[in-house]
Symmetry: C2
Subunit: 166 residues, 2 copies
């Protein structure tokens, strides 16, 4: 194995965390090529107690990280509005992701929503539909996604952003 | 072992979570008697990166729960003000505590700061000094605490509240 190219190979897990639906994507950068290995969503439901959902989230991504030899984690920085209770809840899942980052010694990348849209579509104020269209040019296999598509494409977009960063 | 009394025996871990200093307390209810088994604080520092502090927090309380056969977790509900970024951060540690609750099948008790003060001092608007004075009557050993005393007494107060609840 070539040490230099192996050092540049990365498996990036992009996550759009939500306590009801969490989108995720795994993008691999290998020998200079970028491909989409997997994407989907984790349904956490709205009826289960919060601690149960948090454990499901932790276990799910722990397994994804281990099985895919994830090296990098990509997240959007949250938009901070006025709903304090909402922010507290957003923090739960981010706390879990920071724990996983530390447990698996992952590199973490955080981008503002604007930075992600700018990187993908060349326009920071782009709509989700525009981001999806651009992503479809890059990864035509995304056309098969029919449900929760924006949860998934948000995750794909942020992981692609991390892939392009270096 | 008497099954009935053993069912009533509880080891309550009370936590006042903070990303710089976290206070904690372990109160045991055994055969109808309540005693303070341990209390102290976990210094997380202000210079370490957040994921490092989160992992320290998780590992520290995981060990406390295992070594002390913790059955119950007691927390104050946070006061939700206007600082969204602050709430997001508060959420990190609560997310970790919810994970531990689920991993160890703990019973969780959450009380508003007012409820805790009311239970301890009979006055919901009591100052921290008043809470400390009342706690000193119940647990005279607390007089040996000299530093971070309010981080510790907040944790003692919330765990005592959970001990008295049943």
């Amino acid at each position: 194995m070539n040490l230099i190219s192996s050092q540049k190979n990365r498996s990036i897990l992009g996550i759009d965390p939500g306590l009801i639906v969490t989108g995720f994507s795994i993008i691999v950068v290998q020998n200079g090529k970028t491909y989409l290995k997997e994407c989907g969503y984790l349904p956490l439901g709205s009826k289960k107690e919060i601690p149960i959902r948090i454990k499901l989230f932790y276990d799910f991504f722990k397994e994804k990280i281990e099985k895919n030899n994830i090296t990098d984690l990509a997240l959007e920085t949250p938009f901070l509005g006025k709903n304090s209770a909402g922010f507290l809840k957003l923090g739960y899942l981010r706390g879990i992701l920071y724990l996983l980052k530390e447990e698996y010694d992952l590199k973490i990348h955080e981008f503002s929503p604007r930075t992600v849209k700018q990187a993908i579509t060349n326009f920071g104020g782009a709509e989700k539909e525009q981001v999806l269209k651009t992503l479809l040019h890059i990864f035509p296999e995304l056309s098969t996604i029919t449900i929760k598509k924006y949860d998934i494409t948000d995750a794909v977009a942020v992981s692609l952003c991390a892939a392009w960063k270096n």
